[in-house]
């Protein structure tokens, strides 16, 4: 177990290093730079002066060597767009994205698993057919389109929830702790719903398939022959067995959720990693983009390692 963990950690480190290098060069190869924004009074000479001021006129290998040295010392650079250290910007954004993706991941799994089980148990009946159709529709929706629809319905046509931002921009500071909590939840509902609806659909499809594989098994037939209640058979025996492949899904879902968060955060002006990334890429905020990619890849790697470890923990065959 320990060897597996160390090996996965070493692999992860290599992955993060490769991703860092690629992102460093790719963002700098894109046309434009942090000072190429549209400003009527900034002449090319001024832009050149600023580039020199921040070392962006230096050869790319030199810039990379400097960046790696700084990053090794824990300094991820300076964000031109936010006018603060990249580490400060990330420290504010990461918890917001974790909140969004964490709640969404939790809800997606709970709803997806329950629906998947219910579909498998009622295979071929109207509930299975109807829910499969709806879920397939949700699954095939692009992230940003789903988010825009949710925004349109619940913030414009039927305006019961706020259209973006993380809290009320004015009143939040004046609210009691309970009111402030409710305010946060209200602002969380639409982005979480957007992410959850899309993710849940995939999970339920997988869970349905896994259950359909397990239900005809001999041990389920034995359990029925022993006269166990159907509910117990489904949830204690079939569900637990069908859950094993879903743990792998957990690791795979994290990058998908981070990708989805990019669009959802942009649509709902949710100032997390996705919002930061979208703006940083548009502004060619080099250090911020590179740091976001590093953090994103670390999060994905952690998700995968956790999934591996969980897999080992719940499946005795792998342990052996």
């Amino acid at each position: 177990m320990r060897r597996l963990f160390v090996a996965r950690l070493a692999q992860s480190l290599i992955v993060v290093l490769i991703v860092t290098t690629i992102s460093f060069f790719v963002i700098r190869s894109a046309p434009g730079d942090p000072f190429s924004y549209d400003a009527p009074n900034v002449t090319p000479a001024i832009r050149e002066h600023w580039r020199a001021q921040f070392g962006y006129d230096r050869p790319l290998p030199e810039q990379f060597a400097r960046y790696v040295t700084s990053a090794a010392h824990g300094q991820l650079g300076y964000s031109f767009q936010l006018h603060e250290d990249v580490s400060t910007a990330l420290a504010q954004a990461i918890p917001r994205t974790l909140l969004l993706t964490g709640v969404s991941l939790g809800l997606s799994f709970i709803l997806g698993l329950v629906i998947g089980v219910a579909q498998a148990v009622r295979r071929g009946r109207w509930f299975d057919r109807l829910s499969s159709g709806v879920l397939m529709l949700l699954y095939s929706l692009p992230d940003f389109w789903g988010a825009l629809m949710v925004l349109l319905v619940f913030a414009y046509w039927w305006p019961i929830l706020p259209a973006g931002n993380i809290v009320d921009q004015v009143l939040h500071d004046y609210m009691s702790p309970w009111q402030a909590f409710i305010d946060r939840v209200r602002h969380l509902v639409l982005p979480v719903a957007s992410l959850t609806l899309l993710t849940m659909a995939g999970i339920s499809r997988y869970q349905r398939a896994a259950m359909l594989e397990v239900l005809p098994s001999d041990f389920i037939r034995t359990a029925r022959a022993k006269g166990l209640p159907e509910r117990q058979i489904i949830w204690r025996h079939a569900f637990r067995t069908a859950l094993t492949p879903m743990v792998t899904m957990l690791g795979l879902l994290l990058p998908a959720l981070l990708g989805g968060a990019l669009f959802v955060e942009k649509v709902f002006s949710w100032p997390g990693m996705g919002w930061l990334a979208a703006n940083a890429i548009a502004a060619r905020d080099y250090d911020l983009v590179t740091a976001i990619v590093i953090v994103g890849s670390i999060m994905v790697v952690i998700g995968n390692v956790l999934a591996d470890l969980l897999h080992v923990a719940i499946d005795p065959r792998i342990r052996e």
Partner: protein, 576 residues
């Protein structure tokens, strides 16, 4: 807001008549509480003529807040609300002499007999937001920072006629000029922002760009800076002890919001102002209970520019656009009025040349090549571009084909790109559209790496801004003549215009220069910018200047009977 009132107003939830389980009750109460929002605690109440909070759903966050570096929209708004100039340009945006300028930090000014210096009498009541008085030394410091090459301010090239600033006494800075020009007062009064030496003076110039303190502006304006949570929220409040009187609003919150969410926020009342509302959704504002439209002409114009030089071999003339007959033919082949109607409906304004009509030197009488496709075809034929196989014109084996850059960030320009492509196709010209994000487009434009583009310019109120874009002097790193258009007669006329002290002569020289540019057809003049802003119906706006909608924001107000929860927070007055 009262929770019960809100619930009764819209909630689909009605108290059940039959008993319900405890679990159901908890769920229902939680859902209703979340959907209905929550009432705010009582803060210092705002009442009377002043008060209110305006939330501005901004298209982006500020890039810089330190005046020498400010070049973006939000940065300019914050700069202009927090800081002040010596004098304010009037609504006519007259740039010759000091006519039309109103006192701001300077109560009055005295010209030297030779007009080579101006002594400004600072208002003794003027105070920075930290309570320190404004002195002549602050004016000298501000000029020093703006013009220091180590700082690299984009404003520095506009201050080159100012030789120095001396301090006669603590309230009298004297600005010395290198030569007498019609716009020397404008140069110092409009371009120079006065900053506190005591706050920023100790920072080495090369560190100003990243210094933490320059993120926290300290000015003398009627709004004062509170905080900037980068990427999320920027807050200004009324300076209640301001020497010119406090702003009527208590608070301005600037929050960057994606366009789709911003429109929804304004229409639902969550935000109060959006400066560029999506044109295709503008009719919704007429029927909206929350927001109303404000149609605003802008000091900007859009055009399809043609690069005069080959983007691949940058010293060679462009194989297509170096021929004036081709440029004129292309100009004559497009239905500018039809395109305007197609893109803007009834709200568009046709461009009349290389200037926005809102400026005093704008001229709507200039002769623009008329829409005449038959004449355009003849002109191309006479230039040697004959229709080849496939309908595309060819000359010496080269097809009449070019790439048109369009910014993906601008819906009108994208639409214009498609319309131009279609109209040129009918003439036998093949256009490949290249949609680019603003950063990529800037890089291509600055590197002269393009055939043609759908671009826009926002010049200064002075004709000298036109020189930056259309004179030979504007070619190169210190200018913005990205088409590299050059005509020495135009240069001479623009020089005459900018050195004229008589507004009538200025306009006459400018018009002559513009007519020459139009005749040379380096660009097709598409439209003058008109935008629709959305403002909440409870807000009473003040007159808006065409170059800066926010110029009189301190006089925007919210009547007491229209205030909502966020307007009633109030402010604790500053004691000085």
């Amino acid at each position: 807001m009262d929770l019960a009132a809100m619930m009764s107003a819209w909630s689909p939830y009605h108290p059940p008549t039959a008993p319900v389980s405890m679990r159901s009750s908890i769920v229902v109460i939680a859902v209703v509480t979340i959907l209905s929002g929550c009432s705010s605690k009582e803060g210092p109440q705002s009442a009377g003529a002043t008060g209110g909070t305006m939330i501005y759903a901004a298209p982006a966050d500020a890039i810089d807040l330190f005046p020498p570096y400010v070049s973006d929209l939000i940065g300019r708004i914050v700069q202009d609300l927090v800081y002040e100039r010596l004098a304010e340009i009037g609504p006519a945006l007259q740039t010759i002499g000091d006519k039309g300028f109103a006192p701001l930090l300077a109560k009055s000014w005295t010209w030297a007999p030779d007009s080579l210096s101006i002594a400004f009498a600072l208002d003794p009541q003027a105070r920075f937001h930290d309570g320190k008085p404004v002195t002549a030394s602050d004016v000298r410091y501000s000029f020093k920072v703006f013009s220091d090459p180590k700082v690299g301010s984009p404003t520095a090239p506009l201050l080159t006629n100012i030789d120095s600033v001396s301090v006669r006494d603590s309230l009298t800075p004297v600005v010395w000029f290198k030569k007498r020009t019609p716009e020397q007062f404008y140069d110092v009064a409009y371009q120079l922002i006065i900053m506190p030496e005591h706050a920023f003076g100790s920072i080495p110039p090369e560190q100003l760009h990243t210094s933490e303190i320059t993120r926290k502006p300290i000015g003398t304006g009627r709004f004062r800076f509170v905080k900037w949570d980068a990427g999320t929220r920027l807050e200004l409040i009324a300076d209640t002890a301001n020497y010119r009187g406090r702003a009527k609003l208590d608070r301005l919150i600037i929050t960057p919001v994606a366009p789709a969410a911003a429109a929804t926020q304004v229409l639902s009342g969550q935000a109060d102002f959006m400066d560029i509302f999506p044109l295709d959704q503008a009719p919704k504002l007429d029927s909206s209970a929350a927001a109303r439209p404000l149609v605003r002409p802008q000091a900007s114009y859009a055009f399809m520019g043609m690069n005069q030089f080959d983007p691949k071999a940058k010293k060679n003339a462009h194989p297509i656009f170096s021929d004036v007959r081709v440029r004129r033919a292309l100009s004559m082949s497009v239905d500018r009025v039809g395109m305007l109607r197609n893109v803007f409906g009834g709200m568009g304004r046709l461009a009349h040349g290389p200037f926005p009509m809102v400026f005093s030197y704008g001229d709507s009488t200039l002769r623009i090549p008329a829409f005449d496709t038959a004449a355009a075809r003849s002109l191309l034929d006479s230039a040697g571009w004959k229709v080849g196989t496939g309908g595309i014109r060819v000359k010496n084996g080269r097809p009449l084909r070019f790439t048109l850059l369009v910014p993906s960030s601008s819906v009108p320009r994208l639409r214009y790109g498609v319309l131009l492509q279609d109209q040129f196709r009918k003439l036998g010209v093949q256009v490949d559209l290249d949609q680019l994000d603003p950063g990529a487009m800037q890089a291509r434009v600055q590197g002269y790496d393009f055939d043609a583009l759908v671009g826009g310019y926002t010049p200064d109120p002075s004709p000298s801004g036109t020189k930056q874009n259309w004179s030979t002097a504007g070619i190169g790193p210190t200018g913005q003549n990205y088409l590299r258009y050059s005509n020495h007669a135009v240069d001479a006329l623009l020089d005459s215009a900018t050195s004229s002290f008589d507004p009538v002569k200025l306009k006459s020289y400018s018009s002559a220069a513009f007519q020459r540019i139009i005749d040379d057809a380096p660009a097709i003049w598409l439209y003058d910018f008109v935008v629709v802003s959305a403002v909440n119906r409870r807000i009473t706006t003040a007159p808006m200047r065409v170059d800066e909608w926010w110029a009189n924001l301190a006089d925007w107000s919210i009547p007491a009977d229209k205030r909502i929860d966020r307007d009633r927070i109030g402010l604790t007055p500053v004691k000085r």
